[in-house]
């Protein structure tokens, strides 16, 4: 057991949880609305989840790069928009289950293609978001 100065905070403060919850309700509701607007074809490529996940990754890359690294206002925006909205808008569980369902239908090739596409495009989208965030930051005065 290590000796530490002062108590270690092991759980987030309630205020932060509420901010995340508020953003999360919004992000999840948005994703749900999209699933109603674009019902999935169980046997085909899961385009909606793919679009949500890669689009969300791009937005997150942009947001976290664009926001200042410190300060209470930036922290609050990060909790609401990043952890809350985008964290809830995108979904890993649907992705995993869809891979399993595609494989279970006997279409292992599609399951693999979906996995590779989601990850490959997801990473590229996130990196593009980061690059755009860097370009959009106000330049520091010389």
């Amino acid at each position: 057991m290590s000796l530490q100065q002062g108590p270690r905070v092991l759980w987030p403060p309630l205020a932060s949880l509420l901010v995340v919850a508020a953003g999360g309700g919004f992000g999840g509701a948005l994703r749900y609305a999209l699933t109603l607007a674009f019902p999935a074809d169980a046997a085909g490529f899961p385009w909606l989840t793919f679009g949500i996940n890669t689009g969300g990754a791009a937005l997150l890359g942009f947001l976290l790069t664009r926001l200042p690294a410190s300060g209470p206002r930036a922290a609050m925006l990060r909790l609401f928009l990043a952890t809350g909205v985008l964290g809830s808008f995108t979904t890993f569980s649907s992705f995993s289950l869809e891979v399993v369902e595609l494989a279970g239908q006997g279409d292992a090739a599609l399951a693999l293609a979906y996995s590779v596409a989601s990850i490959g495009v997801g990473l590229a989208a996130c990196a593009a978001g980061v690059a755009a965030g860097r370009r959009s930051r106000p330049q520091a005065p010389r």
Binding site: V20, S93, F95, L123
Partner: protein, 123 residues
């Protein structure tokens, strides 16, 4: 199932994700993304089980929507997984980035399959 129930479930899922991620980061000095891994794999297991349960019991899709789309959809996160992988790579932790990618995919897919199998088996 009302739209507001899905939104409320999502709010809870997001809060649960944040709480667990915060907790695991606090306990582990926060260098590796164990929190995201934990929520994503446990959430995939739960969604697999939910899908199996709904399938077997021919239950209304309402439960799958509130618990699956709402809670678990918000509890798990794809974007954070991508961002944290990129972050590891950019910090020079190439092996950790690759492991985060492959490990989460393998564990998540296996968890969803296991959940589905268990639910059908135990129903």
């Amino acid at each position: 199932m009302s739209f507001w129930m899905v939104a409320a479930a999502a709010a809870l899922g997001a809060a649960a994700r944040y709480a667990l991620d915060f907790h695991l980061a606090a306990r582990s000095a926060g260098r590796l993304p164990w929190g995201t891994f934990a929520v994503n794999v446990s959430g995939s297991l739960a969604l697999g089980a939910l899908a199996g349960w709904v399938l077997f019991h021919d239950a209304s899709t309402g439960w799958r929507v509130v618990l699956g789309t709402g809670f678990l959809g918000a509890y798990t996160t794809f974007s954070t997984w991508m961002m944290e992988t990129l972050g590891l790579w950019q910090r020079g932790e190439r092996a950790a980035a690759a492991l985060n990618l492959a490990g989460s995919w393998v564990a998540g897919t296996a968890a969803a399959a296991l959940g589905l199998w268990l639910a059908l088996r135990l129903s």
